[in-house]
């Protein structure tokens, strides 16, 4: 017998010791199929860095800006208004910065004599940017929930449509069969007892 032709491909072979566990016989016997490992719960090692696991008690999706950074926007209810206010605040602060820089760079600030006016203004602008990004991030969980809702709706519609179509097909099939049986009954001559 000729030896089976050697398949050559551009890619390296998959790990054979793993693949052999999933042979057709094994699957048909349901013989100790490897399940994927469950997601890790505690802290784990990521590229040499220790990463803390997800803490389910805190609302981790939106860490508070008040941890280390001052919160500038006043009301978290009116997202659009606050975002616009922050945007215009950035522009006005930038104009102030330009004025400071064009006049004199080294004047110490009035609030704290350690840093210059320019640095203080830079810090304020940085704070505004961080706040605007944080506000945008706070909208992310809502976006995730809406996406989930849309996906569920689509799935439901698709399943409904499929079952409707299938049901109508089945009805037609039954009708065709019934009519065939009746016409057959007409053809068969009645046997006299």
């Amino acid at each position: 017998m000729d030896p089976p032709p050697v398949l050559s491909s551009a890619f390296p072979l998959p790990p054979m010791s793993y693949i052999e566990l999933f042979s057709n016989d094994n699957i048909s016997q349901n013989n100790k199929i490897l399940q994927p490992p469950p997601p890790i719960d505690g802290p784990y090692d990521l590229f040499g860095l220790f990463v803390n696991g997800i803490d389910h008690s805190e609302p981790i999706i939106r860490p508070l800006a008040a941890q280390q950074i001052q919160r500038v926007y006043t009301r978290p209810d009116d997202y659009k208004g606050e975002l616009k206010k922050l945007c215009f605040a950035i522009l006005t602060n930038y104009l102030d910065l330009l004025q400071i820089v064009s006049r004199s760079t080294l004047t110490p600030s009035t609030d704290s004599g350690n840093i210059t006016l320019r640095e203080q203004k830079l810090n304020e602008i940085e704070l505004l940017f961080i706040n605007i990004h944080h506000l945008i991030n706070e909208l992310r969980p809502h976006q995730a929930r809406e996406t989930l809702r849309v996906i569920l709706e689509e799935q439901k519609q698709q399943r409904e449509k499929t079952s409707e179509k299938l049901y109508s097909f089945l009805n037609r099939i039954v009708d065709v069969l019934n009519s065939a049986v009746y016409s057959l009954n007409d053809l068969v001559p009645k046997t006299s007892n």
Partner: protein, 146 residues
């Protein structure tokens, strides 16, 4: 085409880039300022801020920054209504749970219909089999084709 929040974040970063670039370029290309009463050699220099090449960087950057800001404001306005109160959140939650329930129901209905279809298929197949068997038997009884 990324989603709206990512676009928003990108435009904010773009605005920051414009601001930084504006200060840097204007500082580099600015004409040296005059001292107060001090007489200078080059008193014939023009008063405008235009660069040697005729590029007016300040006007360019001003238009860039204002355009980016108006983009940002337009994007913010285009955001849909966002639930911020507790009631809205609860309503959203309830909607999600309802949808999940309905999904489970439709799945079970689909499964039932599939089972029915499979049963019907089996029946039709047995019928076909018995019919073909009967035909073969008949042909065997009358091999002359009567």
């Amino acid at each position: 085409m990324s989603d709206r929040l990512t676009q928003l974040q990108d435009v904010v970063n773009l605005l920051a880039d414009h601001l930084c670039n504006a200060t840097g370029v204007l500082q580099e290309t600015a004409r040296p300022s005059r001292f107060g009463d001090f007489e200078q050699n080059s008193t014939t220099t023009t008063n405008s801020n235009v660069d040697n090449n005729g590029d007016d960087y300040s006007r360019l950057f001003a238009s860039l920054i204002t355009r980016t800001t108006s983009e940002l404001v337009a994007l913010i306005d285009s955001l849909p209504a966002i639930p911020s109160t507790e009631d809205d959140l609860l309503e959203q939650h309830a909607q999600l749970e309802l949808l999940e329930q309905e999904n489970i129901e439709t799945t079970s209905r689909l499964e039932q219909t599939t089972e029915l279809a499979e049963y019907l298929l089996e029946q039709v197949q047995t019928c076909l089999q018995s019919l073909s068997q009967a035909l073969l038997d008949e042909r065997k009884k009358f091999p002359q084709g009567q």
